[in-house]
């Protein structure tokens, strides 16, 4: 009889174990013009679904408010700036976002510059599906010479004005990160302890996946699979800027959507820049924003930029060359043995 009891208990334990393994709720949706992928671990389906819906509603709200080319609170503001009119009664959230973006622009020595909407529009990236174009150097030069910068923006209580009519704010390098931070707050209110939120590649982790941390794959910019993986502990965030998601090819030259505000041209030669951000209230924003200055900076300036922005973990892929910090190399694992053979791997202190 004891034997049977033992047998029954062990089977019961196995079944319980297998149940808890499968309690992963996953949803894939399309917001911000990209895929939003939410995984919630260890909660019942109903609770996970409710929390996910609240997060998705928040994302839709942000998308409608911050969209760079479809009618939004932001496009209204941009239209006022173009006409030289101040915007009154601007909502407090947008003011906070612009103030924050402004200070990040300054810290990044204007390499992260959300005021260059006219340039981005010129290159044809203000469309869901852009078409390739022939750049005209003199037009680009004119746009660069208008010197758009958030420095021109003045905020007093709820009024926003600009002394440069060529400022066209585009939060494409900020909004998804901000949304990650919002998602974290919402999931916290729902008392979700383990979740992974991925907005078009920008990811933040809450808790972990069972007994292991959440695991992230880093996309190989020139293939359809991941090049490396790493653990993303609770509170950390990761973001990548790449030349392989939004780009077009004209006369054999690849033009990606990340534009150097100093030259007016898309950055060339860098395949991808990944930054890993330690836990912070704004880890999501930082994971979105901080990859841009590193992507745009010339190779000689990278270390100085990383130091001034306090980026401890970064991972840069170029043609046959991979550059990363020592702290990053301790954390990542390459998935294919060929990667180390085919690339010169450089590790900076």
């Amino acid at each position: 009889m004891h034997f049977i009891k033992f047998f029954l208990t062990s089977i019961l334990l196995c079944l319980i174990q297998s149940c808890s393994n499968s309690s992963l709720y996953q949803s894939k949706n399309y917001v911000f013009g990209t895929i939003v992928d939410i995984s919630i671990y260890g909660e019942d389906q109903k609770k996970a679904k409710d929390a996910t819906n609240d997060v998705l509603n928040e994302f839709t709200r942000l998308n409608n408010s911050l969209h760079a080319w479809k009618k939004s609170t932001l496009t209204e503001l941009n239209e006022n700036i173009r006409q030289g009119k101040p915007s009154t009664h601007t909502n407090i959230e947008l003011i906070h976002i612009i103030e924050d973006a402004k200070s990040l622009e300054k810290k990044s020595h204007h390499l992260f510059n959300p005021a260059i909407g006219e340039l981005i529009d010129y290159w044809g990236f203000h469309q869901d599906e852009f078409i390739s174009m022939h750049p005209n150097p003199s037009n680009i030069q004119k746009l660069v010479e208008t010197r758009p910068s958030l420095d021109a923006i003045h905020i007093s209580s709820s009024t926003i004005s600009s002394n440069n009519r060529h400022v066209k704010i585009d939060l494409g390098g900020y909004a998804k990160g901000y949304a990650l931070d919002q998602a974290r707050k919402i999931l916290d209110q729902h008392q979700i302890k383990n979740a992974l939120i991925n907005i078009g590649g920008n990811i933040t982790a809450i808790g972990q996946h069972g007994k292991q941390p959440w695991r992230i794959g880093i996309q190989d910019p020139r293939a359809t699979h991941a090049i490396a993986k790493l653990d993303l502990p609770d509170g950390w965030a990761i973001g990548t800027s790449g030349d392989y998601q939004r780009y077009f090819i004209d006369n054999g030259i690849r033009y990606c959507h990340i534009i150097n505000p100093e030259t007016g041209y898309p950055v060339q030669g860098v395949y991808s820049v990944t930054v890993l951000i330690e836990p912070a209230k704004n880890a999501g924003v930082l994971s979105d924003v901080l990859s841009k200055p590193l992507f745009i900076a010339s190779p000689n300036d990278r270390q100085a930029i990383a130091r001034s922005l306090d980026i401890k973990h970064y991972f840069i892929i170029e043609d046959k060359h991979i550059l990363m910090t020592k702290t990053m190399s301790d954390k990542i694992q390459f998935l294919h043995p060929d990667t180390k053979k085919n690339n010169q791997i450089e590790i900076t202190p």
């Binding site: 009889m1 049977i4 047998f7 029954l8 089977i11 196995c14 079944l15 297998s18 949803s27 894939k28 949706n29 399309y30 013009g33 990209t34 895929i35 992928d37 995984s39 869901d128 599906e129 852009f130 078409i131 992974l196 991925n198 078009g200 590649g201 920008n202 990811i203 996946h209 959440w214 695991r215 992230i216 794959g217 880093i218 996309q219 359809t224 699979h225 991941a226 993986k229 990761i238 973001g239 990548t240 790449g242 392989y244 998601q245 077009f248 990944t274 998935l335």
Partner: protein, 124 residues
């Protein structure tokens, strides 16, 4: 002396439990070959999981028009897509677990699944 076979309830239980145990271990430890299932997501929902070891075409009509996905000899790809940029078609075949093709305009994604996926989510 006559030996009558005695069949106690315990024997039945042991048999039953053993069968259950075998079924259970099969279910939990029988892994698919790496990358043998492809998951098609359409408009935010799982459209279906399909074995990669079949020849099949899947036609999905989304906001932009018709996307055609082909499964053949353990691989999957977009054959045609109504989107302008055609990235999804240009990427060609995928077959490793964790590989993914996405057509954002038409809201279709194709992902190779595996129980022992190397990671939970992809940073790109």
């Amino acid at each position: 002396m006559k030996l009558r076979p005695k069949f106690y309830i315990g024997d039945v239980l042991i048999l039953l439990i053993s069968i259950l145990f075998i079924l259970f271990t099969f279910k939990s430890f029988w892994h698919f070959e790496a990358g043998s299932i492809v998951q098609v997501n359409f408009q935010g929902k799982v459209y279906g999981n399909f074995s990669l070891f079949q020849n099949k075409k899947i036609n999905l009509t989304g906001k932009e028009g018709e996307s055609v996905i082909e499964i053949r000899e353990g691989r999957a790809r977009f054959v045609t897509s109504p989107c302008k940029n055609q990235y999804c078609v240009q990427q060609g075949w995928i077959h490793y677990a964790g590989q993914m093709l996405i057509c954002i305009p038409n809201e279709v994604s194709v992902e190779i699944l595996d129980k022992t996926k190397a990671y939970d989510s992809l940073n790109y």
